[in-house]
């Protein structure tokens, strides 16, 4: 369940990147093999997440910051902690740009 003190990103201004992202609860998610398709009915856009992207997405529940997610990523995949952190930061920025997150206060 999403935290009660979360709010939707301001859609008019590009929001500052928070360090604890929370997935928007109104998105439709479709598991297809090991990938995830995200359908945003508000914008009509569809997004595809591959296995690694999905690993990160699944952890965007507001309880972990980027460092914790990067540490999980480095544990499971064959990447160094610094590479994992870069990867997580870039991915989060791209999802934020696509307005797929709420921001956690």
């Amino acid at each position: 369940m999403e935290s009660a003190n979360t709010k939707l990103c301001d859609r008019k201004e590009s929001p500052a990147l928070s360090n604890r992202q929370v997935r928007r609860p109104d998105l439709s998610l479709y598991e297809i093999d090991d990938e995830l398709l995200i359908y945003d009915e508000t914008s009509g856009d569809t997004h595809r997440l591959n296995g690694t992207a999905r690993f990160i997405w699944d952890r965007c529940d507001g309880t972990r910051d980027h460092g914790a997610i990067a540490a999980d990523l480095a544990d499971v995949y064959d990447v160094s902690p610094s590479e994992a952190k870069t990867h997580v930061e870039r991915f989060m920025a791209s999802l934020q740009a696509q307005r797929l997150f709420m921001t956690a206060d």
Binding site: S28, D33, E35, T46
Partner: protein, 300 residues
């Protein structure tokens, strides 16, 4: 179902799952349409028919003749050349499909059936969908449609709309290479696309109309001259994302379009196809379907 129509200017057709009624005083147009759809002609109008009316305007010193084309009581086109009329009639029918058949999710794709297995070929206009459909029909596949994949939102099965195959001038040579004399077919003019020929699929291969079938393959074709025909597997999620972009009625379908798309894609194998020589490409696709059938039999 309406009463039998005795008006000589009206003709009714059931073209697979799509019904069309054409009303026009222009005898030549009725004959041209009938050449393409004679086998699908029925005596009565169906309730969900797309109703097309074509009326020529009066000619005067000030006004050139135009042909007023109304589709389901709305003015749609007014071409001035007679050889543009039939392509616009076809276009008008396509346009109305989403309204008259909301039970179908409509994808911009050609669709065929081989041995009970449905294959859809999603692609943009001008990518050779119709030419490939023509070649596959000639090679023994069953024809469903050269422009649409009509997918029932409940059963997720592919339905036939065996409209006349529209070959653009760029495809004439390829069609001739597989023994289809496009030059002897009547030529029309289709807006910015230039000269086109419409071919009656049942004259290409009598009896080879596709039946309602499950979608087993989604193949994204790309024509590359002189390349070796190749099939490259792609992920289902990637295919679903691309299908989303070629869906005509994602919001007009009675179910949530993405639900239908993902339902279809989970049951299908997905590929990118480099197509080139038509005979070799058809052989490759036939092997793809037959090998899958053998694999299913082995697993069973």
């Amino acid at each position: 179902m309406a009463n039998r129509d005795t008006n000589q200017n009206v003709m009714h057709f059931s073209i697979g799952d799509v019904n069309v009624s054409l009303t026009t005083p222009i005898r030549t147009l009725r004959r041209q349409y009938s050449e393409l759809y004679h086998e699908f002609q029925v005596e009565t109008e169906q309730d969900d028919a797309v109703r097309v009316t074509v009326v020529p305007s009066r000619v005067s010193l000030k006004h050139r003749r135009t042909y007023r084309i109304r589709v389901n009581d709305r003015d749609r086109f007014a071409p001035s050349r007679f050889d543009e009329v039939l392509p616009y009639v076809e276009w008008g029918v396509n346009w109305e499909l989403a309204d008259v058949q909301p039970r179908f999710l409509q994808l911009h794709a050609s669709s065929l059936e081989y041995d009970g297995q449905g294959v859809i070929f999603p692609a943009a206009s001008g990518s050779g969908k119709s030419t490939l459909a023509l070649a596959l029909l000639k090679a023994g596949w069953r024809y469903l449609c050269d422009e649409f994949a009509l997918i029932d939102a409940d059963s997720l099965r592919l339905h036939p709309f065996p409209r006349a195959i529209c070959i653009k001038r760029s495809g004439f040579e390829a069609a001739t290479s597989i023994g289809i004399k496009v030059s002897s077919a009547r030529h029309y003019h289709k807006g910015t696309k230039g000269p086109v020929a419409f071919l009656n699929p049942l004259r290409i291969r009598p009896g080879f109309l596709g039946r309602v079938c499950p979608v087993r393959f989604v193949v994204f074709p790309k024509y590359v001259p002189y390349a070796s025909p190749t099939l490259m597997p792609m992920s289902r999620a990637e295919a679903a994302l691309e299908l989303h972009h070629v869906c005509f009625n994602l919001f007009g379908c009675r179910a949530l379009g993405v639900d239908v798309l993902t339902g279809v894609i989970r049951r299908a194998a997905c590929y990118r196809l480099i197509s080139s020589d038509l005979t070799e490409t058809c052989n490759l696709l036939t092997r793809m379907v037959e090998e899958s059938k053998h694999e299913q039999a082995r697993c069973a």
